[in-house]
């Protein structure tokens, strides 16, 4: 019943992208559209001004490109063999790129919130990606540890 790695990764990507998108919409509304998260996305994927195109690229990357890259690089990502922990590490790298490339002309105090919340949203993306991927892939079993007491 084990699914192949590509399908599992894409399933993880779909779930992760859904979570990330939801969090970004929430961030957008909660900050009363000060961050303009979808313009950030457009700048991040290199299509400033064309938000719709940018968003499509964002989804494609979140569903296909990053998850596949994640699977390819898994052996080199620390904190294995738990794919969820590795996914969060992987997402931190994505976040650094996202935060820098998408910053645009945001400056001042809003940058603090922008940085913190996009960081959290990316961790959620990586974690979801890893958890869903791990569910489909039984090969990635984490060794059981027992608590030895104080």
């Amino acid at each position: 019943m084990e699914r192949n790695r590509v399908t599992s990764a894409i399933a993880g990507g779909i779930a992760g992208t859904a979570v990330l998108t939801l969090l970004l919409i929430l961030l957008e509304v909660q900050t009363r559209e000060q961050i303009r998260a979808f313009d950030v996305i457009a700048r991040f994927v290199g299509t400033p001004g064309q938000t719709a195109v940018g968003f499509v690229l964002f989804v494609l990357a979140g569903v296909f490109a990053w998850p596949l890259l994640f699977v390819a690089l898994r052996d080199y990502i620390p904190r294995g063999p738990d794919p969820a922990a590795q996914g969060t590490i992987f997402a931190v790298v994505l976040w650094i790129a996202f935060a820098i490339a998408g910053r645009g002309d945001l400056s001042g105090a809003i940058l603090i919130l922008y940085t913190a919340y996009t960081f959290f949203a990316h961790l959620a993306y990586g974690f979801t990606l890893g958890v869903v991927y791990g569910h489909f892939r039984e090969g990635s079993q984490v060794p059981r540890e027992y608590y030895a007491g104080q």
Binding site: M1, A11, I14, A15, T17, A18, T21, L22, I25, L26, E28, V29, Q30, T31, R32, Q34, F38, T51, A52, F55, V56, V59, D82, A84, A85, G108, A109, I110, I112, L113, A116, F120, L123, F127, V131, V132, G134, H135, F136, E138, S140, Q141, V142, R144, E145, Y146, Y147, A148, G149, Q150
Partner: protein, 595 residues
């Protein structure tokens, strides 16, 4: 005609459906698999398999433990949302002028922060902890009314949606706007987040046009009903469901505080509910309860604070109970003066109804009435101080173990002393006339709410984590988190006290430039609290999934001091049942299995 708004909406919809389908697949697969991935190794023993599977279990459960977890998760969601409001508030206050948002958003933020934290976060979390542990502590099979218990919880999610409606509706409107249904999106966008402060004073609250205020009032009413139902359930459970060997003399301290809290809630919340309905009628049906030639704005303040001040004790008593329960475990001694801790709890319960008008000293009420409220307000400090002394004497010459829960409790007692003593000053009329509606008041109650109340919650999460998850968390991260939380609270709220002394009024987005440094220190402290919350969440989630499995129920070495209390004994039985189940399944004995 593809607008930007259309893309996220459609994609999100498709993606959510895909996730749901995915979850379904995973659930089915999990049901057939035996073992494997860490989160799926929760194979169930025979007594655990009677519950329905997957999501259905959580929507239909009447098990007090499941409902307790639902409460806690719900409270956590509310806390994160209210915490987001707080972070935005503090960010706005980094500079004296407009930093990011104007006054309108700022007013909305402090309103929703207060409402979310007071109504939707604090009490649900304590009700959750009590739901899980109180029946076990008193030897009951379940709560007295399991179905009412479930209903009481399930009233809360709609309450959250109604209260936070302004933002939720905006998200929905954004998602469905590409479909071009302006008839649908326009009313959704008309709902703005409420900005009348959590106290909802009239005449402002009757005058604002925003229809979201009405929805919020209904949501708050709903949460009040939920609380009342929960309170009745706790009272009856403690009276009627105790096991035979649990008498009033041997009832544990947490159950005592939950009993008192529930009793206060039973008397206070119906008053709030009535007041909210009266306000709702004033706004929509032309009644004149709070109009000038009706009851007047003062009537609202009396009704509101008749609930509002007991509510303070409703929130703090369970926290006191947790401190009194957990502190002795890491001091190696019994709780000092148990009886007096109980008496002081009951005294607070009674006195809490005689202090409400100290919120109204500046309204020009009769000085004789004012003096009597001052007397009771100062008197209520005594039972609180009794508790503090009992906690200190419990630790005195004890064998202190600075685990994460202990750090939080000791720090929480420290912040409670600051919060409590500043409260005694506020209870004094002449001082209150000076400090009323300044940052001093905000600093005072946050030292208690973010100090002892939040600290006790987190301490309980650490202390009972092995029972809740059968796993252990990362204790080093937990200790760092505990220290960060306490430091963050002190750094955030001490400047607020000073700002209040300097005369800075609360609830302003803009402030004179001389207060900048103090405001910035407070903001930095708030970010420290944010970091500690982040550490707590990651530690909890990751440990729940992959933390080392607990095989010996005496996680905290409580047996050696004779404090291996009922909930741990219950846990030991469950572990034993599980171990024999695993032995029969795999034929190999896990470590720690001495048989």
């Amino acid at each position: 005609m593809v607008s930007i708004d259309s893309v996220p909406g459609v994609v999100l919809g498709v993606a959510l459906l895909a996730v749901l389908a995915g979850v379904g697949v995973v659930r089915r697969r999990r049901a057939m698999a035996d073992g494997g991935y860490p989160t799926t190794d929760e194979r169930e023993t025979e007594t655990e398999t009677e519950k329905p599977f997957g999501l259905v279990r959580w929507f239909t459960t009447v098990d007090h433990k499941d409902i307790g977890i639902l409460y806690i998760v719900y409270g956590l969601v509310a806390a994160l949302w209210g915490g987001t409001d707080a972070m935005m508030l503090r960010t706005e206050l980094i500079t004296p002028g407009k930093t990011i948002w104007g006054t309108e958003t700022y007013n909305g933020l402090f309103t929703t922060h207060g409402v979310t934290m007071i109504f939707l976060f604090a009490l649900p979390v304590f009700f959750g902890i009590a739901n899980y542990f109180l029946p076990i502590l008193i030897g009951a099979d379940d709560m007295s009314f399991p179905r009412i218990n479930a209903i009481a919880f399930w009233l809360l999610p709609p309450a959250l949606v109604l209260v936070r409606g302004g933002l939720i509706t905006e998200i929905i409107a954004k998602v469905i706007s590409p479909l071009g249904l302006t008839a649908l999106t326009a009313p959704l966008l008309a709902l703005k987040p409420i900005d009348i402060s959590w106290t909802m004073y009239t005449p402002l609250s009757t005058a604002v046009a925003n229809p979201q205020v009405d929805l919020a009032l209904l949501g708050l009413h709903l949460s009040g009903i939920a609380t009342t139902m929960g309170a009745i359930n706790f009272i009856v459970t403690i009276f009627a469901e105790r096991s035979e060997d649990v008498t009033w003399a041997t009832l544990d301290i947490f159950s005592w505080t939950m009993l008192t809290t529930s009793a206060i809630a039973l008397f206070a919340f119906p008053v709030l509910g009535s007041a909210l309905i009266m306000l709702f009628l004033d706004r929509n049906f032309g009644t004149a309860f709070f109009a000038l030639d009706g009851g007047g704005p003062m009537l609202w303040q009396h009704l509101f604070w008749f609930w509002g001040h007991p509510e303070v004790y409703i929130l703090v008593l369970p926290a006191f109970g947790l401190v009194s329960l957990i502190l002795p475990k890491f001091s190696g001694r019994k709780l000092f003066g148990f009886k007096f801790v109980v008496y002081s709890t009951l005294a607070i319960g009674v006195l809490s109804f005689g202090v409400w008008a100290h919120h109204m000293f500046t309204t020009g009420m009769d000085p004789r009435v004012r003096a009597s409220f001052m007397a009771v307000s100062i008197a209520i400090a005594i039972p609180s101080a009794v508790k503090v002394f009992n906690w200190m004497t419990t630790m005195w010459s004890g064998r202190i173990r600075l685990t994460a829960p202990m750090i939080l409790l000791v720090g929480g007692i420290g912040t409670f002393i600051i919060g409590g003593v500043t409260g005694v000053f506020l209870a004094s009329i002449p001082i209150d006339l000076l400090l009323h509606d300044t940052y001093y008041v905000v600093g005072h109650f946050h030292f208690i709410i973010m100090g002892v109340i939040a600290a006790a919650m987190v301490a309980a999460s650490y202390y009972w984590f092995p029972i809740l998850t059968r796993r252990m968390y990362d204790q080093r991260v937990a200790r760092v988190q505990a220290v960060l939380l306490i430091v963050g609270v002190v750094v955030t709220f001490t400047p607020l006290l000073i700002l209040g002394y300097l005369g800075m009024p609360r609830r302003y987005a803009y402030y004179p430039a001389e207060f900048t440094l103090l405001q910035q220190i407070a903001t930095a402290g708030a970010y420290v609290i944010g970091v500690s919350v982040f550490l707590w969440i990651t530690n909890m989630i990751q440990s729940m999934r992959t933390g080392p499995l607990v095989m010996n129920a005496d996680v905290w070495n409580l047996k050696e001091t004779g404090q291996f209390t009922r909930e741990w004994q219950w846990f030991e039985e469950r572990l034993e049942e599980r171990r024999s189940f695993e032995r029969s399944e795999s034929g190999t004995a896990p470590p720690g299995d001495d048989d």
